[in-house]
């Protein structure tokens, strides 16, 4: 599969705009357009193969399902995963002749996505550092009440950082990289140790995404029971995800009612004391 200059340019524009500190705002760029599942639709439209792209993007999404960025620490800037990783993964999966829906296809895609994701971390910290230059200009504008410069500092100057740190690398990596990964099988046999490890790693990595989430919600190991319940719904009872969401909502509804009844009693008895 080849990517032409125009396609690489579009991917580079998307990578520039969708960082956590990207030009399109937090809500619709970082939390929407940079999510691998949403990005895979955009990438699919750019590459002209929506189906493969979404299968690849969905597999990669699981790894980054619960990405929280407390206090400006970013474990993976998703723009690299989404707009470099997904195109490369699509090229690799197609080049190796794998079915993207198969475990092996997903495994290869996830491994490539995570590998490229590490580039994103570098991109994030470099952009934030380069923005220091613009803020120096901005601080000087405050005393002069130059509102225009303050707006430029926050909205327009950072685009230069994105251009240097995200646009150019994304363009070159996707333009020249797809050829390399598409011919993966010529230099790495699929039954060799490196490729077997890649496929296996891809099946293990989504567990990290789930683990990150559990770390936040499970305060007490007993809370794991809620997670086991959800796992059992799908693994043993074969309920699909939409169904599981409704079962979960029902249980949460009961939980809410119980807490509120308890709270009502407390305040009622409190009133009696008075």
């Amino acid at each position: 599969m080849e990517i032409n200059i125009f396609q690489a340019l579009l991917l580079a524009v998307m990578a520039s705009l969708t960082s956590v500190i990207g030009a399109l705002g937090t809500t619709y760029s970082w939390y929407t357009l940079s999510r691998p599942l949403v990005a895979s639709l955009v990438v699919g439209l750019i590459l002209g193969d929506v189906k493969t792209s979404i299968m690849v993007g969905a597999a990669i999404q699981v790894v980054y399902i619960a990405l929280v960025t407390p206090g400006g620490t970013v474990s993976a800037d998703l723009r690299a995963v989404s707009y470099i990783g997904i195109p490369l993964a699509v090229a690799a999966v197609k080049g190796a002749g794998l079915n993207p829906a198969s475990a092996q296809g997903a495994g290869l895609a996830v491994s490539i996505g995570a590998l490229v994701g590490t580039v994103g971390t570098v991109m994030f910290y470099s952009t934030a550092t380069m923005n220091l230059i613009w803020q120096q200009i901005g601080w000087k504008a405050i005393d002069k009440l130059n509102y225009r410069i303050i707006y430029l500092t926050n909205f327009i100057f950072p685009l230069i950082s994105h251009f240097v740190i995200a646009f150019l690398p994304t363009f070159f990596i996707t333009y020249y990289g797809t050829d390399i990964v598409a011919n993966l099988k010529e230099w790495l046999p699929m039954d060799g140790i490196p490729m077997k490890t890649m496929f296996t790693l891809g099946s293990l990595l989504p567990a990290v995404g789930i683990g990150i989430l559990l770390k936040q919600v499970v305060q007490n190991p007993v809370d794991l029971i809620i997670f086991f319940f959800g796992f059992t719904l799908a693994a043993a009872l074969k309920i699909n995800l939409v169904g599981a969401a409704f079962v979960g909502a029902m249980i949460a509804f009961l939980n809410y009612k119980i807490i509120m009844v308890g709270a009502g009693k407390k305040s009622a008895s409190h009133e009696e004391d008075l």
């Binding site: 707006y151 926050n154 919600v217 969401a245």
Partner: protein
Amino acid sequence: MSVKLTKKTKDQAFWWWYNGNLTGFTHQHMQTFGFMCAMIPVIKELYKDDTHRLRSLKTYTPFFNTEPQIGSMVVGISVGLEEARANGHEEIDDEMINGIRAGLMGPLAGIGDSLIPGTYIPILLSIALGLSTDGSPLGAIFYAIVYIGTMTFFMKYIFDKGYELGGRAVDVVIGEQATAFRESMVMVGTIVIGSLAASWIGVSTALKFDLGTYYNAAGEQVANVLRLQDTLNGIFPNLLSLLTVLFTWYLMTKKKMSPITVMLILVVVALVGVLIGFFDPGLSY
């Protein structure tokens, strides 16, 4: 004479924040410039002389960082306070405004991070993944519309609450009812993530043991092979995936490892597993 901000100005403050809360990010001043940009239209409308404008603009120069979506409440509160200050409330000074700003950003970041990227987004994405299993664009479209729609509404709602109620607005997110709601949301999230793990993680082993041969009912000699994966599935379906998740959770929670370290450990696990024949994707040309 009292000055009242027009709806247009309040909307401008909201939208500047909505579009630019993190765009000028540095580690030195994360959302400070985003916050200032939101306050500029307010300051321009409330004060006509440069002395007051400069004083009020400088109020918003200290460091600011929180979860930006739930943080739109702080912008709303500041807009309200600035309006009150312009109306001659002497007690509202830089110290008071920044006390509220600094006091809220920590707790709101904690609540916002656990509620939005930690719970709401995983639930929505899990459902979206369920809609996209066969490569359909439906899941991506569903997520984009629902997330942007609900989040924009939520941000505007708590911005308005912040403007109306000032510091008391915090009860909207940390009151008894809000806390009960949040805990219940986390519960849905955990259940859905459990299902997601079971549906999307497929760790399996290729290990098998040759136990010689035996004669079946028809009297034919058959190779007796014990496939570990079948045994494990008999105990609990997809058991290895569950154990892998618990392993990563253990490393991150109990051993305090970063996700990147855990990923590197999994690289080693994959390599060793392949070498001893525990893992084998079974592909060749």
